[in-house]
Structure formats: structure tokens, C-alpha cells
Assembly symmetry: C2
Homo-oligomer: 261 residues x 2
Amino acid sequence: MGKPKKPVILITNDDSYRAKGIQALIEALQPYGHLIVVAPSHPQSGMSHAITVNMPLRMEKIEQKENLDYYIVSGTPVDCVKLANNQLFRDNKPDLLVSGINHGANSSSSVVYSGTMAAAIEGCLYEIPSIGFSLLDFSKNPDFTASIQYVRKIAINALENGITPGTCLNVNIPKLPLNEIVGVRICRQNKGVWREEFDKRVDPANREYYWLTGEFYNLEPHSEDTDEWALHHKYVSIVPVQIDMTAYDSIDRLNKWDWKV
Amino acid sequence: MGKPKKPVILITNDDSYRAKGIQALIEALQPYGHLIVVAPSHPQSGMSHAITVNMPLRMEKIEQKENLDYYIVSGTPVDCVKLANNQLFRDNKPDLLVSGINHGANSSSSVVYSGTMAAAIEGCLYEIPSIGFSLLDFSKNPDFTASIQYVRKIAINALENGITPGTCLNVNIPKLPLNEIVGVRICRQNKGVWREEFDKRVDPANREYYWLTGEFYNLEPHSEDTDEWALHHKYVSIVPVQIDMTAYDSIDRLNKWDWKV
């Protein structure tokens, strides 16, 4: 069997196969490729690059239509990418991996917590051109109309031009109607942090417990080359993300320390 | 109350408070600081930078001695760092965060899967000088004798010299006696990938399931500036890791794409 003419696009997310965001990705890309969806069976927000090592995984095919195969996996977004590559793409790698559309932002340092972006980074480790998409709307039922247009534009660009090996794209989309979005802006990752306020409560057995809540602090709100700036100024932000985390600038300095043990 | 004269060192890991590796960290650093241990109550291998968003967390103090406060948390390594910073370090940040000693390597691209390194990266996001330590020995009861000497050397160096903000250190230690370790080598992250073989089985109800197994492939075994090379040549490897994942080299190229929607 030859490779199908249409590009093969692997789709996953972290909000689970039932999320509206993954349906929006399917709607955006169905005209342009053969879609293989492999999504978590349960929500995986905040799972980052977690993999399931102490439990077995299940994978179930739930739908097969023309140009769409739909699987669910009982694990994390990264588990989905690994299992898809091992079980479904042994001979032909997908031409593109897209993850999302996340319900909520993954800009700035949120990239390290994000299951959506972890799936894209894992795709990148498999040498698949990979993109994570997030919409700045945490609600269950956001309006993905504008997102769908930008997903198409960015995915087709990636299929045509390729993505530099060792990198993937982190795309965030402002919560705005299509005609209010100014355009696309290529950015660097904003310096920002989440600071937690744990909500301390007492359970019916009188034992304390904590709920994680957090607030984002932008450490450089006036830098115009960051993703946060772009999003606040009504742009779709694209940050190219690399899997090499080496801080090359620190190597010389560390070499000057006394290392004799 | 003034700050205690001894440096305050926050200790965590991903193998849980019962792991030998965290005991080795305590043994290494107890003479040099006031230790606050906040460790997961259960093993968290492969949890990467996951945070607990859909469940509450418990924190319990299990021990208090001179220069050692010991807490356990019902979450991930990153939850431990967040909860410690929010509940225990509201007024004074710790002087140093150390995570580990992990039972098994976290060199090369394993940094993205590692709970040990995620805790160090989270410390870095809190602007605490942070180090993750891993020993190349997956067994439950490794010999940490040499590791303890290198933990001391590296931690004291970090306390004295500081670590560049926005970066942390990924330290891997070969499984060798102290006199066979050649020394410390500052390295870059090796290009390498895990390739999975899922072990497919059938459960008693005749349903398929998969166990994740994997093998590491070094994509550049002859590059002498990588952590993998250093470890194979009997060095302790130190990779400075940065939280800015932007692929700066890709920005110009992406700006040339057609972005009109």
C-alpha cells in the first residue's frame, strides 16, 4: 500500500477526546489531511510531560470514517503520542502533529506545565513537525471560529515549509472574533511565573487539605517581543520551542568553579 | 526573628520520602544547612512537571529535629515545591533547592520527563538556586557514597557562587566508586530520544492492554561536549538548564512565512 496522497495528521490534546477544542482541530484540518486522532480518555490538564510508568495503558478505537480514525488512550497526552507512534505509525511517520486546541492559555512559562505543549514536544522528539494550539478561553464552550482559521493557516504553512528539527511551535490565540485579531506575531517566551495561593480547608474528619490556585505574574510586561505582549495586543502568538534546554551562556561561568572533590 | 545563620536548604525528590536517594541528600547536606524536606508521599517517577489541579493536596509534618523539618505531600514533586514555597517560605526564600538523588539517569532528553528535574526547574521559577541530582543506578538500594561527596561539592559551590537566574543545574553521577570518577564536566544536553516498545498483553477479561517500555538512542555518541559522553567517560556531568525554551534561531525563518489569514 502506498502512502495516501493527503498528509497524515496526528491529533491529540490534554482536555480529553470529549473537549470542544479537539473537535475544532478536527473541523479545521479534516479538509486537508487524513486525521488520526489519539486523545486521552480523561482530562489531563496540568499533566505536563508525564508518562504512565506504573500502570498499563488501554487504547480503544472509537470511530472510523473516511479520512478520520479516532482512538482514545487511558493515559497522558505524551502517552497518546508514544502509543500512536509505536502502534499506528510503525512504518510511516505522520506528516504533522497538532495538539489542542487547549481551553486556556499556554503562553509564557506555562509551557512547562502544559500537557498540550508536552504532546507537541514529544512529537518533536519523534522528529514529527509539531504544533500546540491554545485559546485564551478557559470555558467549556468557547467560540473557536477564529481559532479554526488560524489553525488552518499555521498547519498548512508547517506542512508546506516544514518546522526546524528539534523545535516545535507554541501557538496561542486571543479570545477575540476573527475581525478583531490583528494577525500573527512570532515571539519569544515571556518571562513570567505562576505564584500560588493554596486554599487551605478542613475536611469532615477535621484534617487539613489544600486546593491549588494561582495567579500569573508577567515579569516584563513592556517587552514587545514576547508572546504575552502579542496576545495583549490582539495578535496570535507563535513561539518556536526547542527541546535543547541547555543554558549555553552559563557553561563558561560554571567551568570557572573549583570542582576538585 | 532573624534568618538562621546556616543556609536554609529545601529538599525534595520524585521517588518519594521513603527512597534511599533523599536520605543520601539529607546525609550529604545536614552538616551545612537547615534542611526543610518536602517530599512526595508516593513515588512520582515520570511525572515531569505535572501539577495536581483536580484533587486537593495533603501536607503532613512527619519529623522535626535540630536543623531538619520533614514534610510529606500527597502530590507531585512540583506540588511539593509550590506548597513548600506557599506555606513554609512566605517570608524567607530558601537559599538552595536540591532534588533527588534520583534512582536512575536524567541525562540527555530525559530532562523533559523527569520529576526530579521538574522540581529543580520549579525552584528556578521561584528564583531559588536549584539543582537536580541523579545517580545512574535504577536499583532500590544503590551505593550513594560517591554521590554524597559530589552533592556536597556542587551544593556548596552553588551556595557560594550562586546560579545564574533563569537557570538550574542537572547533575548526573556515574555508577562508580569515588576513586574511579574522573571529576566534574560542564556539558550541554545530549541529542537523544527514547523509543518505545509497548508490551501488548491480554487481561483476564480478554481485553488488550499495553505496558510502556523504552530504549534510549544516543543520536550523537561521538560529541565530546555532551552529558552522555561525560557519563560514559566516568565524569559527573553538569548541564545548566534554562527555563526559556524559545528557539531563537527559528524566529527569522518563521517571520518569512506568509501569515495572512
